[in-house]
């Protein structure tokens, strides 16, 4: 008993630890979190896979054994007790009971025992003709057997579905975990499990139109290959959406070849399919190598836009500023659900596809980008968005390029082209000076012309931050703010006049200029990547399937049923023992006893006495 409780407490504590330390992560994550010293200590205790740890299973095994022993020792006695009646009592010993009553009644002993029988009591006549013994609710004792048996049955079921067999084979050196990154066909037979393996939980990632008859079982920091009794081909993976854009269901159309027969099935979350004892679940999905047709748009008009065809998980070379870069396309998402601001209200909306990629330089450092295909609404305006981050831990910083009135990016391209045109800049500065009557001296005109040109060039070469550093260097502190203001005005004014053609053609509004200047200035913080325009795509999915064989499940469910029955018996079946003795004619004494004497029991006794026509009560 004490042993079992110690074991149970250990299980509880170990389980708690297992919820605090995230289980079954890649081992590198633990190494980063815990450091060189603690990582091996935790590993030794199997804290990364606590529920599969050897010592944890041993404790469970001990629990099963000790509970089984407990049941087998007590069950015969309990079963005997259920059939047996309590022994008879003498009137004096009855008086010691808490629920002891004396009463007068015209009813004879026969009638009284009938009243008790109606209430579900079993009656036994003793040797003493004036004494009846009654009992009820003996099934309460069955509760003990059921609950304890339940624990055994559930644990056995659980162990059946654990990987004890593999652990055993591993300890003999027959099998071992593979940790290298290999194709299924290259995995040595020591790390392969054949079809006859009686329980497993394996995963399989299939691209659309791909097939396989093997799956992967993750074990600690490695894996095993499980042969399946059939071959699965993924015809199609698709996502259904609610009208708000959120996903409604994830579905896979699969084709199963089993013993020369072909089955066409559709599985989805909450709707698995079972074949030959193996259940196939929809558990995951990712990109399966979508085809992308892109345009690389230079942010500073340094080259003509380049067309690029690629695929997710593919790499493409890219040269810029005499540096070699590598595009690595990691993911393509067809749907992105965003909370979008609309009329001061947040609404959920699908804003369309995005592509995630890394741009790696020749020394191996990479920046990560996420670019959205469609312009994203923000109040009344639309922006083409692309985020950049230096590492996976930081947040994306977004470059927001304003869309023109046709919701296209081409006006921004034109805008940058115009800004970069020296001819246009000079022409517009001259017009500016000729129009104003303020500068009358030739000298003043020239210096203003030069100044304006320099300011604008600074902006073109390094954005607002360049302007800020020029001001910090050359202007006394008290004038900095007013100078900055006039510089910004000059830049804005020039940019507007330079782009008059766009405004005249109604391609852009005046408000566009400010956003475009901001975008241009932010481009200096965007890294070496050009802006990616996604022209066309063909989405290809990969569906993550889980394949489960769990013969222990039925035992766990049977055990669970036992558990409910057992708890119900223990708590809600009231066990009652009654002795009634006719002391003299029509004078009775009655004693009630129970192993659960609480308020309900007291009420029961009182009500029973009322029924028996109580005359007086001690």
């Amino acid at each position: 008993m004490r042993f079992a409780i110690t074991m149970l407490s250990t299980v509880a504590i170990a389980s708690t630890i297992g919820t605090v330390i995230k289980q079954s992560e890649p081992y590198n994550n633990y190494l980063v979190q815990l450091g060189q010293f603690w990582f091996p200590v935790f590993e030794l205790l199997d804290l990364y896979n606590i529920y599969q740890a050897f010592w944890f299973l041993v404790i469970l095994l001990f629990l099963i054994i000790s509970t089984s022993l407990c049941v087998s020792r007590n069950a015969p006695k309990i079963l005997r007790d259920i059939n047996k009646f309590q022994s008879s009592l003498t009137p004096s010993s009855m008086k010691k009971f808490k629920n002891y009553y004396e009463f007068k009644s015209q009813k004879n002993l026969e009638t009284i025992s009938k009243i008790f029988m109606k209430q579900g009591f079993q009656i036994k006549k003793s040797d003493n003709p004036s004494l009846i013994i009654a009992k009820k609710g003996t099934f309460q004792k069955l509760g003990y057997i059921f609950t304890h048996l339940a624990i055994v049955v559930i644990s056995v079921g659980g162990l059946l579905d654990g990987n004890l067999l593999f652990k055993f084979q591993q300890s003999l050196g027959v099998k071992e975990v593979e940790t290298r990154n290999l194709k299924f066909s290259e995995v040595p037979s020591k790390s392969q499990l054949n079809e006859s393996n009686f329980s497993y939980r394996a995963t399989l990632m299939l691209n659309e139109h791909e097939k396989n008859d093997m799956a992967l079982i993750r074990v600690k920091d490695g894996y095993l290959v499980q042969h399946l009794p059939f071959e699965i081909k993924l015809d199609k993976f698709y996502i259904e959406h609610y009208s708000t854009g959120q996903p409604k269901s994830f579905l896979s159309d699969i084709r199963i070849q089993h013993n020369g027969q072909e089955f066409l099935k559709t599985i989805s979350v909450n709707k698995p399919v079972s074949i030959d004892g193996v259940t196939i679940y929809q558990s995951d999905f990712q990109d399966g190598g979508s085809r992308l047709s892109l345009t690389l748009m230079p942010l500073f008009n340094e080259f003509e836009p380049i067309m690029l065809s690629s695929q997710v998980y593919k790499q493409n070379e890219f040269n810029s500023d005499n540096e070699n870069y590598l595009f690595e396309f990691d993911d393509f998402r067809e749907f992105n659900i965003f909370q979008v601001q609309k009329n001061d209200e947040l609404i959920t909306k699908n804003i369309g596809p995005s592509v995630v990629y890394k741009l790696r330089n020749s020394s191996g450092q990479a920046l990560e980008y996420q670019t959205y295909q469609n312009p994203i609404p923000e109040n009344d305006k639309f922006y083409f968005m692309s985020g950049m981050r230096e590492n996976l831990q930081s947040e994306f910083r977004f470059l927001r390029i304003p869309a023109d009135n046709n919701l296209e990016i081409s006006s921004y391209q034109k805008f940058v082209k115009n800004l970069k045109s020296d001819v246009l800049i000079k022409k517009n500065i001259n017009q500016l000076i000729n129009k104003s009557s303020f500068y009358n001296g030739e000298e003043a005109k020239k210096s203003f012309q030069q100044n304006t040109y320099d300011i604008f060039q600074t902006f073109l070469q390094s954005g607002y931050s360049g302007i800020a550093s020029v001001i910090e260097k050359s202007i006394p502190l008290e004038n900095q703010e007013s100078v900055a203001e006039s510089y910004i005005k000059i830049i804005y004014f020039l940019a507007e006049t330079i782009n008059q053609d766009l405004i005249k053609n109604k391609l852009i509004d005046v408000a566009f200029i400010q956003d475009a200047l901001n975008a241009y200035s932010d481009s200096f913080f965007y890294g070496p990547s050009p802006f990616l325009i996604l022209n066309e795509y063909e989405k290809i999915y990969a569906s993550g399937l889980q394949l489960t064989k769990d013969p222990g499940k039925v035992w766990v469910y049977i055990g669970a049923l036992f558990l409910v029955i057992g708890i119900f018996c223990m708590i809600y079946v009231q066990e009652v023992r009654v002795w009634i003795i006719e002391k003299t004619k029509n004078n009775y004494a009655i004693a009630f006893a129970s192993n659960r004497e609480h308020i309900d029991f007291d009420h029961f006794c009182e009500n029973t006495i009322k029924q028996l026509n109580i005359k007086d009560k001690t």
Partner: protein, 364 residues
């Protein structure tokens, strides 16, 4: 008598109406459940007569709301009754108004010891519960007004289950109060309900959690309809026992003898609520395992929520074992049940806050 008649009549009419009009949307299980629910509800109505009143009021209020909506969600902006009383959001806000009022009245009643105040406290709780249940019913209907495929039972996120928690805990307490005349425990049990009410208010006003969201694919299952309520009967019952334990401990150490029921009654009540909670919690965990086997591909994955459910289960199994088998009584069990609330609360909400896993439907 009239009440019983109305109760049974409305049950039968409701079921018949659903069978005739919505049979195309139901499979044979659902039809079976619907038919069996008539005798079950009738039984429950006689087991706890006050439930009949609750049912009928909720029935009328929900019907009224449905009638006023006229099949268009936008109606609630213009219709006075809907806007301030019968839309789900206002009904739930009325619940959050009457529960604190009930607590204050119960406290005042404990001090003044006037029967009138005691009755008032009970009635305020009844109003809160009626409003809350009607709110959930109307919310259920509103979810279908958003779109037929969005429609679902309102027990799918943290906001909705907190409302459910308040209602179930309130109902269980009122049942015991009626049966064992323990009005003076009201001021204790209502504390935990009002903690949940405070959370609902915070969650509504800072995170707009009251918006109805469509179900994620993993939650689209019939199991949700039984798994979640059974779990909350468990949580509710455990919370009640913890609050009674608090009262019990305060009584013995501060001599609040006049204010509180006898230790014998309180111990019994503590046991009763843990027992009923334990049964439902066991069933809920088993249902959860069956559901997990269908949705996640394994009946037990040692997911943090599952693991904490096991810890909660072991905790109360030990409590019951000590009381029933070892015959233990008194302060130790009271302390244990009070501490049990910490474990339960962590399993209920702490896991969602601090640990990540499969069961992350109610993230803050």
């Amino acid at each position: 008598m009239i009440l019983s008649f109305l109760y049974i009549a409305s049950l039968v009419i409701l079921a018949a109406y659903s069978l005739i009009n919505f049979s195309e949307f139901m499979d044979q299980y659902e039809t079976g459940i619907l038919i069996l629910s008539i005798p079950s509800f009738i039984w429950f109505g006689f087991f706890w007569p006050s439930f009949k009143k609750l049912f009928l009021t909720v029935f009328i209020l929900s019907l009224g709301a449905i009638f006023l909506f006229q099949g268009d969600l936008a109606t609630q902006q213009n219709n006075f009754l809907l806007k301030y009383f019968l839309s789900s959001q206002s009904l739930i806000m009325w619940m959050t108004f009457f529960f604190p009022l009930s607590l204050l009245t119960y406290i005042y009643f404990s001090i003044k010891d006037s029967m009138f105040l005691g009755k008032l406290g009970t009635n305020f709780s009844w109003i809160a519960i009626t409003a809350g249940f009607s709110g959930l019913m109307v919310r259920w209907y509103e979810s279908y007004l958003i779109s037929l495929d969005v429609g679902h039972i309102p027990i799918s996120n943290l906001y909705e289950v907190f409302v459910l928690f308040c209602l179930i805990t309130g109902c269980m307490y009122l049942y015991y109060e009626e049966k064992l005349e323990t009005k003076k425990l009201g001021s204790f049990v209502l504390i935990i309900i009002n903690a949940a009410v405070a959370f609902i208010l915070w969650y509504t006003f800072t995170k707009s959690a009251n918006a109805i969201q469509p179900l994620v694919p993993a939650l689209q299952s019939y199991w949700m309809k039984i798994h979640v309520p059974s779990n909350f009967i468990g949580y509710g019952a455990f919370s009640i026992s913890a609050m009674i334990a608090l009262a019990y401990l305060l009584r013995s150490s501060f001599g609040l003898n006049k204010i509180l029921p006898t230790p014998y009654v309180m111990e019994d009540l503590m046991y009763k609520s843990i027992a009923i909670g334990f049964i439902f919690f066991t069933i809920a965990t088993i249902l959860g395992a069956i559901w997990a086997a269908e949705a996640w591909g394994g009946y037990w994955s040692w997911d943090p929520k599952e693991t904490w459910a096991l810890i909660v289960w072991l905790n109360y199994a030990a409590w019951l074992h000590l009381r029933l088998v070892k015959g233990l009584r008194g302060n130790i069990l009271a302390w244990w049940s009070l501490m049990g609330l910490l474990i339960t609360t962590f399993a209920f909400i702490g896991v969602n806050l601090f640990l990540s896993g499969l069961h992350s439907y109610g993230e803050l």
